[in-house]
Symmetry: D2
Subunit: 361 residues, 4 copies
């Protein structure tokens, strides 16, 4: 397996399986002198962890981050920062029955095909638990971005068929954490919550959409051609479990538009070059133009459901499977901090890459 490293200069490598001893991340390339607040990392992990409310899974994961290296007297030293999170609630017996079964729309079959064996306990490396390592690393990246006044905010804009059509400018980001679905519109949040409860009762699950806004991004981030800012963002976001789609700015709606309505007119405002509209989503030619970066991410409904489903085992024989234990009927609320983390890691990397833009820098 390759592909456990992401980033070029602010670079992370994650490791760990759902029911192994621990999961963790090594951050290589964090500049020296950053005040690293362990408590902040813990808080971000709390936002991601299951069991936060009635609508998410009831498992209690005590995700306490331990910084093994790279921080001395509270500051990053320039050395790689390794953060480890122990796996406490292992319950591997819950999964023994899945040893030979290929759960529908899970990674059981593809891992077996690729590697010839697999750690079947709780999905092993394919488990969403892996994203805790991303959130821990993202929390460090967010602290780095604070020095640049770059702020990343994600919220739930769709759950099942309930979709929030308001622009993010009409919303109060302070209200995102006010409800368990992480939708800043209280009325819509209630509908979403009800839909999730209903799905849970039906032993079913629901998909959704997360919107993310990055504010305060300076002009000049992103690399032309293959590493356009939104292309690398897309890579990062699409690598999150259960993601099926990614769009920036006008997104898929752009397909139905005409150039004359889509083009963002340049104007001068307070000596700054701005655009009147932001269909570009803050990125033009792959490079940030100083406007807010806006992107949306579509999540499929979780594959694990309580309902019995038909499938086959590794001998090719028919069998049925049903989700035991406690599983999220909708992962989208918990995906909010994961989206933010990946966005933070990408922006941090591009901030460092941009230091090489010019000869005089």
């Amino acid at each position: 397996m390759a592909g456990n490293t992401f980033g070029q200069l602010f670079k992370i490598t994650t490791f760990g399986e759902s029911h192994g001893r621990a999961i963790g991340v090594v951050i290589d390339g964090c500049p020296a002198g950053l005040a690293v607040n362990e408590e902040y990392i813990h808080k971000e992990l709390e936002r991601r962890k299951p069991g936060q409310s009635a609508i998410s899974t009831q498992r209690k994961e005590d995700d306490f981050p331990v910084i093994l290296s790279g921080v001395f007297e509270g500051k990053s030293t320039g050395a790689p920062i390794c953060i480890v999170i122990e796996n406490k609630d292992q319950r591997s017996q819950d999964y023994a029955n899945l040893k030979d079964v290929y759960r529908p729309s899970h990674a059981d079959f593809t891992y077996q095909e690729k590697f010839g064996l697999r750690d079947y306990r709780g999905g092993g490396r394919a488990s969403a638990r892996e994203t805790a390592a991303r959130v821990a690393a993202g929390a460090v990246a967010k602290q780095f971005l604070e020095h640049y006044n770059i702020k990343i905010t994600a919220f739930v804009s769709q759950v099942g068929t309930h979709r929030l059509y308001k622009s993010y400018k009409e919303l109060d980001f302070e209200k995102i954490e006010d409800n368990p679905v992480r939708c800043p519109d209280a009325e819509m949040a209630e509908k979403m919550q009800a839909a999730i409860e209903e799905a849970r009762k039906d032993g079913d699950s629901l998909g959704g959409v997360v919107t993310c806004i990055i504010q305060g991004v300076p002009t000049g981030l992103g690399e032309p051609v293959f590493d356009k800012l939104h292309a690398v963002l897309g890579h990062a976001i699409l690598s999150i479990n259960a993601v099926k789609g990614f769009e920036t700015g006008s997104g898929f709606d752009a397909a139905a538009m005409r150039g004359s309505e889509h083009n963002d007119v340049f104007v001068t405002e307070e000596d700054k070059t701005r655009t009147l509209t932001n269909h570009s989503g803050g990125i033009q030619g792959g490079i940030s133009n100083g406007e807010d970066i806006v992107f949306k991410t579509a999540f499929k409904p979780p594959a694990t459901i309580a309902k019995a489903q038909q499938t086959i085992n590794n001998k090719g024989n028919k069998t049925t499977v049903e989700g035991k234990g406690r599983h999220d009927p909708c992962v989208v609320p918990r995906a909010v901090p994961i989206i933010e983390a990946m966005a933070a890691l990408v922006i941090a990397d591009f901030v460092l890459l941009a230091r090489g833009n010019r000869i005089g820098a």
Copy 2:
């Protein structure tokens, strides 16, 4: 600038500006012994080039690929393959008037901000001409994939508001090249063509969507976690000029679905493990499962339009700009071979990476 290299083992580096001497690509990592057909590369470039029909730009670019290295007696030697395409129709005088102007939704402003200077001739490095180098490299990747019976087919499934709702399984791929919009449904193709003509008459432009199907992919391609097959595909595709969105399998529609309807049930068919539906789009846990890989790409309408538009120049003063010369009112038909090329490069890379899956391989 970084980011002109893509891929890990089947790796490309592109170079060249729209109105410089030449554009080109270096392919490093193509295995030795591949019969490289120069004529095939040329044909693929012909599919991409402007001026193919009344509905695309009338510029004539004679894109003839010259292989400078890496091929000996018709076969790849294992050495880097450099393919160069001369820029013939330069007409830099067409662009002198744009030297100081920031065209709306172009990369003029962001390049200037990032680099402190820019090659303003025809968009320089930000021009879509850069994609010719990708198509040349993709043509080599496609020849490599023929050895594995992997076939990549893209077609236009939406232009403006005209959207083809049929499944790709109802379509005859042989008909894609029958019309200039590259939509295999003749009736829909006519509507799309009419819409493009209308936009042209209005001095305007149109967006659209390209659907791509990859057939014959073996199980086991893609790397878990950050380099999931669809994440790297997304990176590749989102890096193409004018792309605003990317989705695989059920895509954004998944958000509104329930797990019980979205999950792909495993069955055994002729001793092979298959799925009854393919909402996963051929990829589960980031790894190919042997089903067709399906993805869609949204393109915004081209920023260059004949209509006069308000903007500012590099001194911050208001001015207007209008597209002179010949420009595509809709790039989507020409995007078809570009999408295929990027998909081929990604799959070729993963085919090589998969050689490291197991100890015994």
Copy 3:
């Protein structure tokens, strides 16, 4: 700080400071299905650790490797393998006096200049303790190479002015571990040992040379141009603390030779292409030719000595420093497993890279 990752396909990332909580390594890219013997890793760490004999440092480091991930039921799963080694004997008080002092020929000054701060405890990230993580990873690589019957053997060929001129073919590798200097020639080993004892008594230290032989390497490993087999080996080896020189085959002696004596004549032996001599050191044009790979590494004398030395502190004022505690007067014997580990990692990486040599593979 970057540069904590090494390798392309069999890739390691190390972390940890001398007196932090732990040091460790993440191996990404180890093929699935490898039987990973934890005990073997421990044994290799034992070979590296200080306090093995009277001639090396008396500190007792209980280097017990804990595998956090990537191994399930005794086999590599394809997921990243994280191995952590706790730091037990921390004694940071030993180092408080060095907080403001730049020890001669240590990394204190350069770390301070680069990062603006430093973890001064025992050298922090610059400590040779970091090499324990390399040895742990190398032990996994060695187990991988066993599948290919590739064997890596290093031994001490020079300590101070005592140099072994015999060819490695005259030596019995079984005798390397018979003495604490790890020189397979008993007579020379005694002289070396005496020299080290003498240096210790003088409160001084000694340099030396390690010779390494890699047997059983198939033809075709190594990548032409920048990643020639010996160039990447050189990179790996020169990155080990205290290394000042690296040579392959004839090495620096080649400078004084004529082509007619240096060229290795090809012959056919038992249907195999062999060379009569091996000045090439098993590598021609950067690619293995099937002969033994031979290289030598020069180590400087350790910078820490018991004798008082003049230096300055971080305010630029004169002071003196003397090595307290227990330090190796000669690191070369302990460098033997480190050299082997780095060589194993390089060869493992090239074995995987070579899977991409040809179209038919």
Copy 4:
């Protein structure tokens, strides 16, 4: 084949075979705004090219660099800079006789083994002609380093058994180009020249050593652990054709030294931290300390000699081979600009990497 790319931020990719259409290089990551002097690149290529004097090969290669991209109105734009050099004097007929023969100590056999086929014309990709692309790229890097007042100077310090023992501080670098061997000591240069002439008359060849000094390097370049400054330098230098050894500072001599004599004492000079001696070769803990960087490179005698040599062909049958045409009896003088080029590329890369050292940068 992989491995045709070198560097992380100031990154080059080379391509081309000895007798193909052209060789060239793509530089990706050169900051925008650098004045790129084409004439300077040409001059550096002139220093490398054969046929400069009676003692080197008499082939005339008209190495004229053509910049295809990345430079606009004399300045780097941030886009990749592609430089191509046409192959004019191809004479492939000279090489047809070598089609099936494995020349001793050449790469014929290993390329054939690795790739299953080879471009036998003049060594193909394994030819030293490939280094012209490095020199062209290095010339751009040197122009970049001028902004930092970093100066790289190499000279010949040994040819065959004639070795210059003087310190570089006793030499006048202005005299390096005064004689065809590029040794700044006139007396020694004469001896070296005579030795080369003698080898030529004997139909034989000679090895040698190049010393390189990098002056003006700021503190803080180089990355701890795997990408130590001298480790990456070693990688770069060992990748040059015919190199057998690399050492920095005290090099192999360090093995015979004691710590008390090897350690470089820190002192304060004019408010700067300096060292009294420089056995460290300007690098401590892998990071530059502000002193001159000093390294030496050993070259083997060229494998091609006029004398008849025994070898085998690709069927395993005995045959003889003798160098026809015009070949260098000693490549060391021409290696001087190649060494400088690779050193410049490494330092340029580390200058950019160092921009990420600290949070405040």
